[in-house]
């Protein structure tokens, strides 16, 4: 294990924050107080956390409709996110964006994205900015297995190879795009293999293993920073919840999610790995658990108590209001 115990604790805090954030949203959403649609990231925490672990604030990520985990991993303010999801004025986007559009440009977070396949083309733009300015920052795009089939994604990969852009295409294969299985919708035997065919190194990793993802991400990020061009990672995991909150999930075998929670939980795997290594004690993790819980509690109660936007906000942030 190449990480220090402080680093391991940092990784754990991020993963636990994402898990707690999402499980809490699952419960809060059931009260009917969250407007619209939320897509939960629980089950995939190791991927966002490991990929963003070595990124700096000035590096960029582009996310998906399932963006809460990416946002937290990139350092977005958890309270600001919660406020945004509840549609509050003090939210990260002033309540104008909601769950599917959480963005925080000060933290290099180019936005969750409600257009599937939206991130890779934006990420190559951020990568071009880096290349032109020579600032050694990198750009990462997150895309699902379903999104990996989108034309924009293929175009982005080819462009990145042609222009040797400092970016990493991360594909999170959670087995489904909405109700359709990846085994049906992804024609190639692997998403990583298809990315490699564009002319870049591509690795397939177990996305429930933080360390496997981290090794792959570190290599890709280093390559990009050194001006050697793009690379891709396919990380396999599962989503613990439905496509969106409220999804009856009839396309899944009845016991599938329960089994996955038992056998493919990245968080309990990480706990086991780090405590067995002796670098971290269970007590340290429990302390983090309590702190995270308190943070999420206060984020939720803060969001519930906060004011919605003012009606005049409808006509702000546009260049011209009619």
């Amino acid at each position: 294990m190449q990480l220090t115990s402080d680093e391991l604790l940092r990784a754990y805090r991020t993963m636990k924050s994402i898990r707690e954030f999402e499980e809490r949203l699952h419960a809060e959403n059931a009260t009917g107080d969250i407007p619209g649609f939320i897509h939960l990231y629980a089950g995939q925490e190791a991927i966002a956390t490991a990929v963003c672990f070595d990124l700096g604030t000035r590096d960029h990520i582009g996310s998906t409709h399932r963006g809460h985990g990416h946002s937290i991993a990139k350092g977005c303010d958890i309270r600001g996110m919660m406020l945004e999801i509840f549609g509050r004025r003090a939210g990260l986007c002033g309540g104008k964006g909601g769950s599917m559009h959480i963005a925080d440009l000060d933290h290099g977070m180019l936005g969750a994205n409600a257009i599937v396949g939206g991130a890779p083309i934006l990420a190559i733009g951020a990568a071009l900015t880096s290349k032109v300015r020579g600032d050694r920052t990198v750009a990462i795009s997150f895309t699902g297995d379903g999104g990996s089939n989108q034309g924009t994604v293929f175009e982005a990969m080819n462009m990145a190879v042609v222009l040797k852009l400092p970016c990493v295409f991360v594909f999170e294969n959670n087995g489904y795009g909405e109700a359709t299985g990846a085994s049906y919708a992804v024609g190639a035997p692997s998403i990583a293999g298809r990315a490699a065919a564009f002319g870049m190194p591509a690795t397939a990793v177990d996305g429930t293993d933080f360390f496997a993802v981290h090794d792959a991400a570190r290599a890709g990020i280093a390559r990009a920073r050194n001006g050697e061009g793009p690379s891709a990672i396919e990380a396999t995991a599962v989503r613990f919840h439905g496509h969106f909150e409220g999804d009856a999930q009839r396309y899944r075998a009845r016991d599938e999610t329960a089994n996955c929670r038992r056998s493919m939980d990245c968080l309990s795997r990480f706990r086991g790995q780090v405590t067995q290594s002796g670098l971290v004690s269970p007590g340290q993790l429990e302390l983090i658990d309590a702190e995270v819980l308190a943070l999420i509690d206060s984020a939720v109660s803060g969001a519930r108590a906060a004011a919605p936007p003012a009606i005049d906000d409808l006509l702000t942030d546009v260049y011209l209001a009619y």
Binding site: R89, A253, D313
Partner: protein, 333 residues
């Protein structure tokens, strides 16, 4: 006659036409929903349930779940339409037009004219529109004004379950590309809908309320607001005539002008856009062709020139609604 939902009416229209014509195929994301999963194959039956059950009768060869790849869906639909099939291609949300405009705009819409009348493109794009779903800026738009401006496309906006069935059957039988826009907040509305197949011709407006004082032109969900306001104003002896064009291309301008000639007043309510809206287009046509019939300025009730906001308080203010419509009517009486 049985009472049916807009959703069910659409489902029946698809089933009728698939039974009648083996060339009719459905394609889109999760139109069955469940391919390659570990559970049911018809788990979604369309993201909003419109195509539910069709795979059981017509099979996966004709109810085709596609990868998430709208430009290939629309391109494939255009290509199979010009070679003999009658595809009904689903674009889950009209907002996603952004990733698949070319096959619609530069291909399907132009084939017939550009190829000197030699091509037929019997393509239907079924898609959803509308704010009010709390789905924010990229899942709430109503870009039918864009489609209406494209020569070669027919543009259909059913406002109720009865029209939905008759217009969809017409759309499938039509030899031109048709953009069929379903409002998300209408799927659970109900109307009397016959079991058998019937068609509603394009370019024939419906008059949903008759009145002599003011004409309101409304489309899709806005028709319900217009009816509501008309019913309310009747108590004050203000008689509002509500015209639902049902198709914006072709447009039944005759019926609109006939109504305006009677009332002398026109208000339009339109969710599509603030600038270059369908309402603005119809207002210009009325001003051009029936200027002397007008006793008062034309009023437009539109969303602001902004993306659709997320927070409910803002989204509700965004949507052109009954209160603003009523105020606009009163302002010209």
């Amino acid at each position: 006659m049985a009472t049916k939902s807009y959703r069910q009416a659409l489902n029946e229209a698809l089933a009728h036409e698939m039974r009648r014509d083996p060339d009719v195929v459905i394609m889109g994301e999760d139109v069955a929903g469940g391919a390659g999963g570990t559970g049911e194959v018809d788990a979604y039956g369309g993201p909003l349930g419109v195509t539910k059950g069709l795979i059981h009768e017509f099979g996966a060869g004709r109810v085709i779940d596609t990868p998430i790849t709208e430009s290939a869906i629309m391109g494939m639909a255009a290509g199979c339409a010009m070679t003999g099939l009658r595809p009904v291609a689903e674009l889950m949300f009209a907002d996603f037009l952004g990733v698949c405009l070319d096959p619609i705009y530069n291909q399907a819409a132009k084939f017939r004219y550009m190829f000197g009348g030699k091509a037929r493109t019997p393509l239907v794009v079924r898609t959803t529109i509308g704010a009010g779903f709390r789905a924010a800026a990229q899942h709430s738009q109503s870009p039918y004004h864009l489609f209406t401006s494209i020569p070669g496309l027919k543009v259909v906006l059913p406002s109720n379950a009865y029209d939905a069935k008759g217009l969809l059957i017409q759309a499938i039988r039509d030899d031109d590309p048709v953009i069929f826009l379903e409002h998300k907040l209408l799927y659970d509305t109900v109307a009397e809908v016959p079991d058998e197949a019937y068609v509603i011709p394009f370019g024939e407006a419906a008059i949903t309320r008759t009145g002599k004082d003011v004409t309101v032109v409304a489309m899709s969900r806005m028709v319900h607001f217009a009816n509501e306001v008309a019913d309310r104003l009747l108590a004050e002896r203000i008689a509002v005539e509500v015209v639902d064009p049902r198709t914006t291309s072709p447009l039944d301008l005759d019926t609109i002008i006939e109504s305006v000639s009677k009332t002398g007043r026109l208000v339009l309510i339109d969710e599509s856009a603030n600038r270059c809206s369908v309402a603005a287009d119809i207002a210009a046509l009325v001003a051009e062709h029936a200027f002397t019939a007008l006793k008062a300025p034309i009023r437009l009730v539109l969303p602001p020139h902004t993306p659709v906001p997320f927070a409910p308080i803002l989204e509700d203010a965004y949507i052109p609604g009954p209160a603003r419509l009523e105020a606009a009517i009163r302002s010209i009486l």
